[in-house]
C-alpha cells in the first residue's frame, strides 16, 4: 500500500517524530510532516505516542529533594593535601 505524499515521506516522518514534538523542525519541514501525518494513521499515532512519552518522562520527578551523601567529598578531601593533580584525567 502506498504512503500519502511524496516518496520517502513516511520514512522521513518516522525519523523526525522526536524533532517534531519538540518543535525543532523548520516551518517547511514541519508542514511536510503534518501534511503526511494527516493522511497516515501510523505517523499520526506516532506523534501522539511520542508526545505522551515525552510528557511521561518529564514527569519522572520522584527523586526531587534527594540529598547527596555527606561522604561525597571524602576522596577529594583525602587527596586534597596533595593539591589538584595534573596526572589524573577529569
Amino acid at each position: 500500500m502506498g504512503m500519502p505524499g511524496r516518496p520517502g515521506d513516511h520514512r522521513w516522518s518516522q525519523q523526525h517524530l522526536s524533532h517534531y514534538v519538540e518543535g525543532e523542525l523548520r516551518p517547511f519541514t514541519r508542514r511536510r510532516l503534518e501534511r503526511h501525518a494527516r493522511n497516515c494513521v501510523d505517523c499520526a499515532r506516532g506523534i501522539r505516542a511520542m508526545r505522551a512519552l515525552v510528557h511521561a518522562l518529564q514527569g519522572l520527578d520522584g527523586l526531587a529533594g534527594t540529598r547527596a551523601p555527606t561522604t561525597i567529598f571524602d576522596r577529594a578531601r583525602l587527596a586534597g593535601a596533595g593539591g589538584p593533580s595534573a596526572s589524573s584525567p577529569a
Binding site: 519522572l60 561525597i72 567529598f73 577529569a90
Partner: protein, 200 residues
C-alpha cells in the same frame, strides 16, 4: 545553570569564579564549596543512571575526586556545572561498562519514579499511572548506556539539547539522533496503548 532549590549555593562573597581560582590554587575547601552547589543534583543524576544507591554514592565520590584532581585543567570553556556533569556521565558510563550489564534492577527505582498524581485522578487512573511508571522504569533499564543517558539528561533532567550534547561530548545533531532512537525504543517497549492511557 543555577542550582536547584534546596541546594547550597556558594556564599555571596564567594563567586563561582573566585572559588574556581582558589580551588585551582589548591584550596580543597573552596573546591567543596564550589561543587556542593551541584552535589545534590549530580547525585540524583547518578541515581537515575545507575539505579543503585550504593553504587551512585561510590561513583559520586569518584566524580568529586576526579573533578578535584582535574580542576587545574578547567578553562571555563563550558560552565562549571557542565564540566562537572560531563565527568559524572563519563564515570557513570565507566561504572556501567565495568559491571558489564544493564543497571541493577531498574535504572530509576520504580518506587522513586513519580508521575504527578493528581488528587482528581480516580483509583483506576492512578493504577494506570503506576503501571506506566513501572513500564518506564523497565524500559529505561533495558536501554544501552548511551541511549539511557540521552533520555535521562534531556527528558528527565530537562537539560537543553545543547547542554546535554555538550555534557555527552557529541554534536547536537548526533545527540538528537541518539535521543530519538532512545525514545523509539522506550515507546516500543511500553506500547502506544499504555502511552495513550497516560493522558499525556
Amino acid at each position: 545553570m543555577p542550582p536547584l532549590a534546596g541546594q547550597r549555593p556558594p556564599e555571596p562573597a564567594d563567586t563561582e569564579a573566585s572559588l574556581i581560582a582558589r580551588a585551582q590554587a589548591g584550596d580543597v575547601a573552596a573546591f567543596e564549596r564550589l561543587s556542593s552547589a551541584y552535589a545534590d543534583r549530580l547525585f540524583m543524576l547518578l541515581l537515575r543512571l545507575l539505579g543503585d544507591r550504593a553504587e551512585a554514592e561510590d561513583v559520586a565520590q569518584e566524580v568529586m575526586l576526579r573533578a578535584w584532581q582535574g580542576i587545574t585543567r578547567f578553562r571555563g570553556q563550558s560552565s562549571y556545572f557542565t564540566w562537572l556533569y560531563r565527568i559524572a556521565v563519563n564515570e557513570a558510563k565507566r561504572a556501567m561498562e565495568k559491571r558489564g550489564r544493564r543497571p541493577a534492577g531498574v535504572s530509576i527505582g520504580a518506587d522513586e519514579l513519580q508521575l504527578p498524581d493528581s488528587p482528581l485522578l480516580d483509583p483506576s487512573r492512578q493504577a494506570e499511572n503506576n503501571e506506566l511508571r513501572q513500564a518506564l522504569a523497565r524500559a529505561l533499564a533495558g536501554l544501552p548506556p548511551d541511549l539511557r543517558m540521552a533520555i535521562v539528561l534531556r527528558d528527565v533532567e530537562g537539560l537543553s539539547t545543547q547542554e546535554a550534547a555538550q555534557i555527552v561530548g557529541i554534536s547536537q545533531a548526533a545527540f538528537k539522533s541518539r535521543l530519538h532512537q532512545a525514545r523509539l525504543r522506550v515507546r516500543a517497549a511500553i506500547g502506544d496503548r499504555a502511552l495513550a492511557s497516560s493522558g499525556g
